[in-house]
Symmetry: C2
Subunit: 161 residues, 2 copies
């Protein structure tokens, strides 16, 4: 616990994990995300809602970024999108969410478990590393990795039971 408390994004990480747990309880793949404003205040939190919304694009990060952009757009120029903001997510973003982070101009992405099969940041197309990348956020991967990976493993083990 001490280790988590010292992490500069500990509040957002805790919120993302809680959202992932809540997603699992709804029968969703347990992924949670939180967005911090440039000052570090929590702007938005979301869990995966693919099943609930019948929307295969309703990934936690995309929902949280949309919500955060709406909130932030009320207090500053909307054209700034999420510049200066940090997205914290329990799983490495897929290519869709990673590419969305470019459109939202996210400053930093902090993620938990690596996703060798479905990830698009440290795996697969490694979108931020390509030559034509329009906006390249700072990436911090593997935060509370074991806990994040366990959450997913436990969910898929229950599905197979």
């Amino acid at each position: 616990m001490c280790e988590n408390d010292r992490h500069p994004f500990s509040e957002a990480i805790a919120a993302a994990f809680l959202a992932a747990d809540e997603a699992a309880a709804r029968g969703e793949v347990p992924v949670g995300a939180a967005v911090l404003d440039p000052g570090g205040a929590l702007l938005a939190v979301a869990g995966n809602r693919v099943e609930a919304l019948g929307d295969p694009s309703a990934h936690a990060e995309l929902l949280a970024m949309r919500d955060a952009a709406t909130r932030l757009g009320q207090s500053r120029d909307r054209r700034l999108r999420l510049s200066g903001c940090t997205v914290v997510v329990t799983l490495e973003p897929c290519p869709m969410c990673a590419a969305a982070m470019e459109h939202f101009r996210v400053a930093r992405v902090v993620f938990g478990a690596y996703d060798p099969k479905g990830g698009g940041v440290a795996h697969g197309p490694r979108l931020f590393e390509r030559a034509g990348c329009l906006h390249r956020p700072e990436v911090i991967g593997g935060v509370r990795e074991r806990e994040a990976a366990h959450l997913l493993r436990a969910f898929f083990m229950r599905l197979r039971e």
Copy 2:
């Protein structure tokens, strides 16, 4: 006109172009998209709404796919997502929208203008060509390409005036 009328996706192409024109009239980047069900009937049409919604992810294809999945989910198993469906879009999809097409399990994507700078299908990360691609739609690019490219050029020329 005869050439367009003969195209198997002529109705969807016309709908996508109309949605792109309407987007331009709202001050949006003029991109339009339409989704056809497996039988070829028009399921959903959308134009780019990034500015109107203050949502950088509100690209025409993503909006049309979400709408189409909701409609189709009322008459068949939602878990089929958009399998068997065709997405028609006036511009080569960006990496976010191309990756979303994998999640929606789109059967076919038909697009107009190629986008060497922002595209993710025939350019950039060429998402459907990567080894780990989860679902690979058939791709037909360059349909009514000149007209589609003109639409965008005219819009950006007006912006610069």
